[in-house]
């Protein structure tokens, strides 16, 4: 079902995306698939030598998760902008939940747009990403 501008009001919440706990396998697969070969995400020896207790997740992994909130809602070509600020490191075993909420509706030159406030949090409610998207409806 197509999402219609007139059916969406400010405060509308998009269907959240809940992800399983992040494992070393998750990071290895994402490192390979994304082309981010930074060893800080896949090699515990390297992470320790860099002063970290362990490897940690790529920020862009959580951003990819967050993007699914949008692409589960509308066809991807409706997305005009999508941006995030990385708030804190995502660790192994974190369970990321991504959400989005319509915070503004605008009509400009006959074009309908919604602005969506987004975030990714772990199972403790710690905010990992804060984001915003503009979608054409």
């Amino acid at each position: 079902m197509a999402v219609l501008f007139e059916d969406i009001s400010t405060g509308y919440e998009l269907e959240p995306v809940r992800k399983p706990p992040i494992t070393r396998t998750t990071l290895a697969l994402f490192g390979g698939a994304s082309g981010d070969h930074n060893p800080i995400h896949i090699d515990i020896d390297f992470a320790k030598s860099a002063g970290m207790p362990d490897v940690f997740a790529h920020g862009m992994l959580s951003m990819a998760y967050l993007g699914q909130v949008l692409t589960n809602w509308v066809p991807q070509e409706a997305i005009i902008t999508f941006g995030v600020r990385f708030q804190s490191i995502t660790h192994l075993n974190d369970e990321i939940t991504c959400s989005g909420r319509v915070i503004e509706k605008t009509e400009q030159d006959g074009k309908n747009r919604v602005r969506i406030e987004m975030q990714a949090v772990n199972q403790h409610g710690d905010i990992k990403l804060k984001g915003e998207a503009i979608v054409a409806l």
Binding site: G32, A33, G35, M63, G67, F86
Partner: protein, 146 residues
């Protein structure tokens, strides 16, 4: 302090093929369940020419830039001190498997906070497809911890 003369520096453009196999690997790695990202028939049923690249995929293309860390070293920055602060995408046209995307980056700002303890490098990367259409603009803020 990073010399502000690096503002305006542009990278040498490079071109990458968007491959179905890499898109499928990416979809698997991020737990994508929507078949339009992995199944060509589902993509075709949606009217797509081939598998579409998901919203953040263009960033991955840029990771394949030749010698990305050299530019930071040229600026006197240790790549291991970098953090990804912000990432923004502006979508102009879709990217599909089979496209050849040319990427070029420009450092558009360098600023500091906390009396220089943190510096921020803002890079804009433009992606252009094989037909000369700009498909995406990406804005990345990289944090340098001193």
């Amino acid at each position: 302090m990073i010399d502000r003369k690096f503002i305006g520096t542009r990278s040498t453009p490079f071109t990458l093929d968007v491959e179905k196999g890499q898109l499928r690997s990416f979809a698997k790695a991020v737990g994508e369940r929507n078949p339009i990202y992995t199944d060509e028939n589902a993509a075709a049923a949606h009217g797509y020419a081939s598998l579409p690249a998901p919203p953040t995929f263009a960033f991955c293309l840029n990771l394949a830039a030749p010698q990305p860390s050299t530019r930071y070293r040229d600026m006197g920055v240790d790549p291991s001190k970098l953090l990804h602060g912000e990432q923004h995408f502006h979508y102009l046209k879709p990217i599909f498997a089979g496209d050849a995307i040319t990427l070029q980056s420009e450092i558009i700002d360098i600023y500091d906070k906390k009396n220089g303890a943190l510096e921020f490098i803002v890079t804009e990367t433009t992606g252009t497809n094989q037909n000369g259409h700009v498909v995406v603009k990406m804005l990345a803020t990289t944090v340098v911890q001193h």
